[in-house]
Structure formats: structure tokens, C-alpha cells
Amino acid sequence: MQSLYDNLKSLFALDGFEGQRPDLAFVNVSREQLRPLLLHLRDQEGFTHLVLLTAVDWIEDEQFQLTYLLHDRVNARDVGVRLMLPRENASMDSVHDLWPTAATYQRELREMFGIDFPGSPRVDEDFILEGWTDLPPYRRDFDTLEYAQDTYKDRPGRETRDPALHMKEKLYPDGGDNG
């Protein structure tokens, strides 16, 4: 991975590089550098396979972190390209012309996180959830338990058999030291 780092450092302004394993490394870039970096990795370095495009919700920093995971089949190594987006009105340029499969991942991110990818084919269509009228569910400010309790009626009489709770009540009936 050192050679990869050297190649990239000379061409792009990288915000960070972590070599996690000999065959896995993560690169942090800014938004403007993403497309040239992806093109370079795909065409020159041999990372031809887009494995996945996923997002992480850093709600404390009010940012989304996108990760593009690329795979080099010839040398069996992976590199993950990360970038940060502001959480308000998140949107990003689409890479569906580099890899057509990115269109599906971008649809999923639009529905589940609310990150828009203008220009991606069919990105406005419902992906899995039909008739969803609430917050995008993967965001951390969406409380799924509260939503489930508000929308769906319970059947009364459900009890929990959590072993930890049961043992705690049995062994320390008055609360105990850890209670």
C-alpha cells in the first residue's frame, strides 16, 4: 500500500491515508477531488470494481461520511475513498457514469439517508419503502422504536425474558451494588 500512497500523494491533495491491512486502505478526500481520484484509481491503478457506496451519519459533527469502496481484482486489494458532506441538504455528484451500479446505491442513499445525487437515473423513485412519509429511516435522529409504537398497534401482554434482567432480579432483589 505504500506504493499506492506515494502515487496518490503526488497527484492529489489527500486529507488522510490509513493503511488498515496490507490489502486495505482508506483515503480521505474533499468533494472536488473525488471524481478525479476515482478516475485515476479506476483507470491507472486498476481498481475497476466498485464494491459499495455507503454512508455514516455523524450526527454530533452534523456531517455525513460517504465511503466508496473499490476493489482491485488483479492484485486483490481494496481501497475506500471517504469524504464528508454537510448534513443539511446533503447532495453529492453522481458517479453512475463511472460505474452503472452506483445508480442503485445512490437510490438507496437517497431514500434511507436523504442524500441527493442529482442526475443519477431514477434516483427519485421509491427504492424499497413504498409510501414513506417520514424522515429517512437510517438517520440517527429518526427514532424507530417511537415510530413503531406510534404507528403499529401492540398486542397487550408482551413480556420480555432478557436473561440479564432476570438474573439481576433474582440475585439482587433490592437493587444490589451495580443496580
Binding site: T144, D150, R155, P156
Partner: protein, 239 residues
């Protein structure tokens, strides 16, 4: 001693405030009322959901005239259970072994039919997401009276392991009348066969009147269904 279902019916329909909808769902273009131009040049107004579907609701069908004939019919219905081949969830994988030589449900008169018109038993096999609930309701309403519903697994009873999920319903009773629940996560094929045997006893005792219960409490069921299915683009009763 009223059973829990009747207690719930006594309560008002679900008066909990609905959550604020952050967007509204437009009806599909081909289903919206609009003006079209016919091939011979006229302009007509159409409303597909009203024009192309029958708007009547279901009616309660009385059993046969004499008890002995109804007993004969119930015996035949019990011994000839035709399951709709619609695997709604993970329990479908427990229904497949029933067709194989090891468990062989055919010797009990159970067959799988591919179309809801010919089936009289709908097996809700496992968790029911809202998307599948819409299709299951559509399939259930296309079946003919008398029809039965069996809920497989704990997700149909109280939500099971998806009790805090934003997308699965927690109590199948609210949306369609259920005759029998088979517990398990998933119940094994032997448990399914035992469950079908219990269902046969129920039907033969004359208790398999789920379709009439649906027709009597139609507004209540429909209100529950429309509360969770927010993009309702079907007629109210899918004949």
C-alpha cells in the same frame, strides 16, 4: 369473559394522533382522474379507481340452509384446503418441505393453488412488512367466501423480533381476521401439519367464519389498514 378481540372492538378505532407526514404521496398518473382523448376523437373524463372497479363492500354470506348440509360443506372444506401460493415472509421456506415426500401434505388434502380465486386458505408466513401487507390484503379480498387465514410465527402474534421495526406490523389481527396462529420462529413443518390439523377441527366445528367477520367489521379493518398503508391506490374492496 370477552376475548381480547372483542374488547378491542369495543374500544374506539385507533384514535392515536397520526405522525406528521413530511411529504405527501401523489397518486400514480394512470390512476388519477383525468381527461383523455378516445381513439375516435372524443374528450372524456375518467376516474380509473371509480370506473374500473366495483365499489360495493363485502356482504355477510349466510351459511347453507340446513345444518346437515353445512356440516357436509364444512367437512369438504376442511378436507380440501387449498393454500394460496404466496409466500409472504420467511415462513415460506417452511411450507416448501410440505410438498416433498418427507412430509407430504397432499395426503391431508392440502394443495397449493397459484391464484387467489381458487384458494381458500391464506398463510401469512412470518413478518409482514407494510409493502407486503398491501398485496396480502389485495389477495385476501380476491378470495371467495368462506376463507381462512393462518398466521405463522411470532411476528404475526406480537411483532416477534421485529417489534421495534419501522416497517413491519405487529399484530395481524388488526388488519385481517385470523383463524389460527402457529407459534414458532419459524415453526417446523411438523408444527405446521399439526396446525393445519387444528384448523381442520376448527372448520369442521363451524368456526371458520373469518370472511363474515371481515364483512361485519369492514370499516374497522379498513381504517386500520389505511392507517399504516399510506399510499393507498387500490379500491376499498378488491373484488
Amino acid at each position: 369473559m370477552k376475548d381480547e378481540f372483542e374488547k378491542r372492538l369495543e374500544n374506539q378505532p385507533d384514535e392515536r394522533p397520526k405522525r406528521q407526514a413530511l411529504r405527501d404521496i401523489p397518486i400514480r398518473e394512470e390512476l388519477s382522474p383525468r381527461t383523455v382523448r378516445t381513439p375516435d376523437g372524443q374528450e372524456i373524463k375518467i376516474d380509473p379507481l371509480q370506473d374500473y372497479f366495483c365499489q360495493a363492500g363485502p356482504t355477510v354470506q349466510t351459511p347453507a340452509y340446513t345444518k346437515i348440509i353445512e356440516d357436509l360443506f364444512n367437512w369438504a372444506r376442511a378436507e380440501s384446503l387449498w393454500i394460496l401460493g404466496f409466500g409472504t415472509g420467511c415462513g415460506a421456506i417452511e411450507m416448501r418441505p410440505l410438498m416433498t415426500p418427507r412430509f407430504d401434505a397432499y395426503r391431508y388434502g392440502i394443495q397449493w393453488r397459484p391464484t387467489p380465486r381458487q384458494a381458500n386458505l391464506l398463510v401469512i408466513s412470518g413478518y409482514l412488512s407494510v409493502k407486503t401487507l398491501k398485496r396480502a390484503i389485495r389477495a385476501y379480498e380476491q378470495m371467495q367466501n368462506p376463507k381462512y387465514v393462518v398466521g405463522l410465527g411470532s411476528c404475526t402474534i406480537n411483532g416477534g423480533m421485529y417489534w421495534d421495526s419501522y416497517n413491519t406490523i405487529k399484530c395481524l389481527d388488526e388488519y385481517m381476521p385470523v383463524d389460527l396462529y402457529i407459534t414458532g420462529c419459524m415453526p417446523r413443518p411438523e408444527a405446521l401439519l399439526q396446525g393445519f390439523d387444528d384448523l381442520k377441527k376448527l372448520i369442521r366445528a363451524g368456526k371458520g367464519e373469518g370472511a363474515n367477520k371481515y364483512a361485519e367489521n369492514f370499516e374497522w379493518y379498513k381504517a386500520n389498514q389505511k392507517r399504516v398503508i399510506k399510499d393507498w391506490d387500490m379500491p376499498d374492496y378488491n373484488w
